[in-house]
């Protein structure tokens, strides 16, 4: 951020616009200051979240999807967003702000890759979802446990290896056996996957990248609401 910019002298809308730029550039400190400034001016936490953080991450997501930004830039943006979220979250939890939905997400057994999964988790949070990240190298038992405990709307499965992606089917089969599958939206992602694979194993959708995962999550939540 330019040293000469003094956010105390700016209009609310100008700060919102500045937040989008700072999110794009991954400026965590600036985002935290801007969030605090808007809170000090009695803006609703939910408005700061949706207009500033979610609005900004939408732009980041679009440019990521289009190959203009890559993982390092998006991670910096997500870290900046997290900085803002840390301030807003307790306030949001205490308010009656609307919830986008609850997501449980994790990388399957045999796979320690968590870069894509973390990115999806952070961007879903940026889009207003409540995300429970259950980690990597997860057995069927761990997924079932988390689904029963958190009652999510969406379950996200990640795999980055051709040797581990078939395990996604194992998880989905176990959900069916436990009669949990029908109450869940199952989204899958990871570099070696594709649409046909996702359909074959019985997932609801394949998310080619983190931005599309957010789009899918939003789309399915709307369908669920009957909208």
């Amino acid at each position: 951020m330019n040293e000469e910019i003094n956010i105390h002298e700016m209009e609310n809308d100008e700060i919102i616009e500045l937040m989008k730029e700072d999110l794009y550039d991954g400026y965590r400190e600036e985002i935290m200051k801007e969030v605090q400034e808007l809170l000090d001016r009695d803006l609703e936490p939910y408005d700061i979240l949706t207009r500033g953080l979610v609005g900004g991450m939408d732009i980041v997501g679009d440019d990521f999807r289009d190959g203009i930004l890559f993982v390092p830039e998006v991670l910096m943006s997500a870290k900046a967003m997290k900085g803002g979220m840390n301030i807003l979250q307790p306030l949001l939890a205490a308010s009656d702000a609307p919830q986008q939905g609850v997501v449980v997400i994790g990388t399957v057994k045999g796979d320690i890759h968590d870069i894509g999964k973390n990115l999806v988790a952070m961007m879903l949070e940026g889009a207003g979802f409540t995300v429970i990240d259950i980690g990597i190298n997860l057995s069927v038992g761990k997924y079932l446990e988390a689904v029963e405990k958190h009652q999510p709307d969406i379950l996200g499965l990640s795999a980055l290896l051709t040797t581990t992606m078939p395990y996604m089917r194992t998880v989905i089969e176990a959900l069916k056996e436990k009669k949990l599958r029908d109450d869940l939206i199952v989204l899958v992602g990871g570099a070696p996957l594709n649409e046909a694979f996702a359909m074959e194993i019985g997932a609801d959708a394949y998310c080619r990248n983190a931005a599309l995962a957010v789009d899918m999550a939003k789309k399915f939540m709307k369908i669920e609401d009957g909208a």
């Binding site: 190959g67 890559f70 830039e73 320690i112 968590d114 870069i115 040797t163 694979f197």
Partner: protein, 296 residues
């Protein structure tokens, strides 16, 4: 044995091998289990795969050690066996290479740690470097001829791997990255930048492996060749796109398609040509025949 460097700077293509993971799963490796554990658990099965690739025509074969860093082995609680499993991986390849009637070189496969380095992630350059040094010492003890860094997406990690290898060995090193995101690596490295940065390192060849389809990989090789026409380039494409048949993952690229890919990528400037996920000795044999015709 003929020095590898002579071959690298001749005009003839060098045939690499195909997938290891795909073949191990066909041989009974369970989803999610550590392929590297099989180097001591089922050495005869690993050796059979090497033997099949040599028979198909591979001149350089890769050891079964892709996930052989302590970071990856930790997931299977095998991180205290890094040296042993990598040494065994190299010995399995060595046994088959020595039994061959022609020269076969052994490249010690070294894949990514699977974690993100500072400043984006938590792990430090020095720790990654040391992990690769540990892996490299096992591979060299087992008798590799060169080191083969592959499927990388982060240039810092390649640098850490090279630095680690150089702590323990002076053998040649090759490095390839995986360009799977809009023609870039996941970390946003373009083929041009990969060449520009990698040629500053102590490497005998650089290139591309895995990624998406073979057409995309051919495009990456073209760009790399334009960036530096003199650099020996490595091409290892997947055998098409993964599909699920009867519960297991198969790739839809036929041997004929991979033969076409081998011809095309050689035309575009690749020197070391092989295949990645989903490929089998049949694919490599078809590629061997295709490249033999080209050589005439």
């Amino acid at each position: 044995m003929e020095p590898l460097q002579n071959l690298l700077h001749s005009d003839t293509p060098i045939l690499l091998d195909g997938a290891m993971g795909t073949m191990l799963m066909d041989a009974g490796l369970d989803h999610g289990d550590a392929p590297e554990a099989w180097n001591t658990l089922h050495p005869e099965r690993v050796r059979k795969i090497h033997r099949q690739y040599i028979k198909a025509g591979s001149q350089i074969i890769l050891t079964n050690s892709f996930g052989g860093t302590s970071y990856r082995l930790a997931m299977h609680n095998l991180n205290d066996r890094v040296f042993e499993l990598n040494k065994a991986a190299a010995e399995n390849a060595r046994t088959e290479a020595d039994a061959a009637s022609r020269t076969v070189w052994i490249a010690g496969s070294m894949g990514p740690t699977g974690q993100m380095m500072e400043p984006l992630g938590e792990i430090r350059f020095e720790d990654v470097r040391d992990a690769y040094a540990e892996q490299a010492s096992g591979l060299e003890a087992g008798g590799v001829d060169l080191f083969w860094i592959e499927t990388m997406s982060d240039l810092h990690e390649v640098k850490a791997a090279v630095a680690g290898i150089r702590r323990v060995s002076q053998l040649p090193i090759s490095a390839t990255m995986s360009f799977d995101t809009h023609g870039h690596t996941m970390m946003g490295v373009s083929p041009t930048r990969a060449v520009e940065e990698l040629e500053q390192l102590d490497l005998v060849s650089v290139g591309a492996n895995c990624g998406t389809g073979s057409d995309e990989l051919i495009q990456v090789i073209s760009t790399m060749q334009e960036t530096d026409p003199d650099l020996p380039l490595v091409a290892k494409a997947n055998a098409g796109i993964p599909e699920v048949v009867d519960g297991s993952v198969v790739y839809n690229g036929t041997p004929d398609l991979m033969a076409d890919y081998a011809r095309e990528v050689y035309h575009r400037g690749a020197k070391l040509i092989g295949a990645c996920c989903g490929s089998t000795p049949e694919h490599i044999q078809a590629m061997a025949e295709a490249l033999k015709e080209m050589d005439k």
